[in-house]
């Protein structure tokens, strides 16, 4: 059981697709798993007043964020019968089209994996002190607000 071990969540820059393949492949020896649910956040090229977002520069209150990620994990493992859960979030600059968030939950049954994945995504957005500076093509910026 890896559920108690605090895990490093932050990665520098974008989450590469190969990391996702590797995480999935790592679970093929766990034959009590029947379903995986994955959520990926990707940087959108939003338009604001005629300017287009080209990247988001993420920063965080890292020490507190790692504590909160750990609390969210603990709560998820007590609420959902999941076999494992992995979260990765970017710090630093992530360009449009690249991935900034990777949530991965596994369970014997699909509904549990899916519900737990959604729980992580909502909790992360609501409770973790992470900030994103949306950088436009002309080098100006604005601060991202979650909807």
């Amino acid at each position: 059981m890896d559920k108690k071990k605090p895990k490093k969540v932050f990665v520098q820059g974008a989450v590469p697709p190969e990391k996702i393949a590797q995480s999935i492949a790592n679970h093929q020896s766990k034959t009590n798993i029947g379903a995986h649910s994955i959520f990926l956040g990707q940087i959108r090229a939003d338009e604001v007043n005629g300017k287009t977002v080209s990247a988001i520069d993420y920063s965080a209150y890292e020490e507190m964020a790692e504590d909160v990620f750990h609390e969210i994990r603990e709560a998820a493992f007590s609420e959902f019968d999941i076999t494992c859960a992995h979260i990765y979030h970017s710090l630093g600059k992530v360009k449009t089209g690249e991935l900034c968030l990777f949530v991965f939950t596994s369970s014997a049954h699909r509904k549990i994996a899916i519900d737990a994945c959604n729980y992580f995504v909502e909790e992360i957005k609501a409770k973790v002190p992470i900030y994103g500076k949306e950088i436009f093509g002309d080098e100006t910026h604005q601060w991202k607000k979650n909807s």
Partner: protein
């Protein structure tokens, strides 16, 4: 009595700094410090600012020597 104050996101940008050591009077509460710094740096949308004292969201505590107080704008992860 000294406390470490950290600023994040748009607040760090507005304050022009990410961290400073402040001398505060014994018995000052986190919410009093919050009001003072919001005024000092003219931090906008003050009602949306949360304070974390030693990594816990809490403005009702009385500050102690060496506390770490973080000024947090609305979270925007994901």
């Amino acid at each position: 009595m000294k406390v470490t104050v950290k600023y994040f996101g748009i607040i760090a940008e507005t304050a022009g700094k990410k961290e400073e050591i402040l001398d505060v009077t014994q018995g000052m509460s986190a919410s009093e410090l919050k009001a003072r710094q919001i005024k000092t740096y003219q931090i906008p949308e003050a009602e949306s600012v949360q304070l974390a004292v030693n990594r816990d969201l809490n403005t009702e505590v009385e500050l102690k020597e060496g506390d770490e107080v973080a000024f947090l704008p609305p979270f925007a992860g994901g």
